[in-house]
Amino acid sequence: MSARRRTLVPLLALACFVVLALGAPWLAPAPPNAIPADGLIQSLPPTVEHPFGTDPLGRDVLSRMLHGARVSLSVAFLSVALASLVGTTYGAAAGWIGGRVDALCMRLLDVALAVPRLLVLLLMSALWGTLPLHTLVLLLGLTGWYDVARLVRSDVRGLRERDFVLAARATGVREARILWRHVVPHVWPTLVVTATLGVANTIALEAGLSFLGLGVQPPDASWGTILRDGQLPGGARWWLTVFPGAALVLAVLTCNALGDALRESFAPRQVAA
């Protein structure tokens, strides 16, 4: 596949996901939390009426998945946006100021990195009881910016000594303006790639937390909570594992593939002489 196509295909796939998520209220055959009026409260395998089956409360899985996509994707996008913002600011500040401030910032980052992210999240959800959605976004964002900070910081440090920055400084351009005009555009590729991979990561993480019952709370649907419903006692219900799981993997795969393709296109391979 050509480099162009490697970027375009996942980009289109991602767009599909977004469209499906945004269109959920119109596309879904049933409201996500609707318990059937006939009182048929049981989990049924796929039928024509419920192509992805129903969950233990008799709710339509397809509808829940479409609405779940809204939750899963928006949690991921928002928290990664937050993480990127915090990470870029932190990394750029550390890298640009340099010296002791930089050393201190990096030490702090090492400390933060030492505590596995999942366990921080577990600890926080233990302390908070249940996490409201906006707190979940906040927590995911505030525990997800370390990589961004490190990468941006090393980019900025490299740029700080480059000729065009020195030239700009020599001609008396203000620091803030140099940072904005000359440094930020160069950091952009790094940021886009890490953010894309970060979205993949966060979608999986949110699903995992929700699966454990610590993320999105019922009755709200997310791919993780649907998977969790599939584990309720009462025998194997493959449709509750396979369909939301497939959606989850596809979404993660799409973002990873996009991230890989973007990284390759930003750093093109040298052509052999």
Partner: protein, 305 residues
């Protein structure tokens, strides 16, 4: 290490309310009783005093009391940790060896058909959340095919089985959690080793080795040696993710280890145990990255000089 534990302390105090308020919330206890218990546990003292006491306890190995297990946290961990270590150790060894082998193989033939197949496969594997892979394995091999025992570390009758059967029993319980953790791990290391090997493979010293009459095997060794350091650095950084993966996998296969216990402890609001688990995993992470740093210096003289 010290800093990490401080961070945990800060996180603990950041949360709304305090452990005691939460634990007794809803219980028909007079307010004064709760206040008394709070005072008894020293939660009324100023923050620095609390902090010093907390840190002192940890340094002395006093990790507190597990309400859930009704035992000292230290004893609980002593029971659980070896099981998690077994699972994670096996998974790490598998991921590293298989991933590095696959990645190195790919790196020497980047762009070939075989490489493209492997790249796509590892990308898909890499995108599988461990918990879903675990669920899938569980559903397929246990619930549908019935080839392997469901969950736990041993079956109920383990103690009365003859020795050979006991070994078999253990292995049967181990294989799925190990597979779930390893498959994802292999893809992580293979992806990284591939790109570092691919870069090394283009370096002029590879041509030098050939010009010296070194056989292809030796040439690959030359390249692999220089491609090693970044992969080891990654291995150190991957530990937190592996810990995270282990939590899910243990949970799903009911593996009676630290990860499983941590989730239970979270649900039971067993604060001392959760705190200890976080501290412990931080310690493992710090130790892992120090070890990775050390090995990196050993294999690459350019690091740190």
């Amino acid at each position: 290490m010290w800093a990490a534990s401080t961070l945990v302390f800060v996180l603990l105090r950041l949360a709304p309310g305090d452990p005691y308020a939460m634990r007794f919330e809803g219980l028909p206890l007079p307010r004064a009783t709760i206040e008394a218990r709070r005072a008894q546990r020293g939660l009324d003292d100023p923050m620095p005093v609390q902090y010093a006491r907390w840190l002192g306890n940890i340094v002395r190995g006093e990790l507190g009391w597990s309400e859930q297990h009704q035992r000292p946290v230290r004893d609980v961990i002593a029971d659980l940790l070896p099981r998690t270590a077994l699972l994670m150790g096996l998974a790490l060894v598998t991921s590293l060896s298989l991933g590095m082998w696959l990645g190195a193989w790919q790196g020497t033939r980047a762009g070939s058909f075989g490489d493209q197949v492997a790249t796509t496969s590892t990308l898909v594997l890499y995108s599988l959340p461990e918990f879903w892979l675990a669920l899938l394995l569980l559903q397929l091999f246990v619930q549908t095919l019935g080839w392997l025992p469901a969950t736990g570390m041993v079956s109920a009758m383990h103690e009365i089985l003859p020795f050979g059967e006991r070994v078999r029993d253990r292995l049967e319980h181990l294989v799925l959690p190990w597979l779930a953790l390893s498959l994802v791990g292999v893809s992580v290391f293979a992806r990284f080793q591939r790109s570092s090997m691919r870069d090394a493979w283009r370096e002029p010293f590879v041509r030098t080795a050939r010009a010296k009459g070194v056989a292809e095997r030796g040439v690959r060794w030359h390249a692999w040696r220089t491609a090693l350091a970044p992969v080891i650095a990654l291995a150190g950084l991957t530990l937190p993710a592996l810990v995270g993966g282990a939590v899910f996998v243990e949970r799903i296969f009911a593996w009676p280890g630290m990860g499983n216990a941590t989730v239970s402890a979270v649900n039971a609001r067993d604060y001392d145990l959760v705190t200890a688990a976080v501290l412990l995993s931080s310690a493992v992470t710090v130790f892992g990255s120090l070890l990775a740093d050390l090995v990196q210096r050993m294999v690459d003289p350019r690091v740190g000089s």
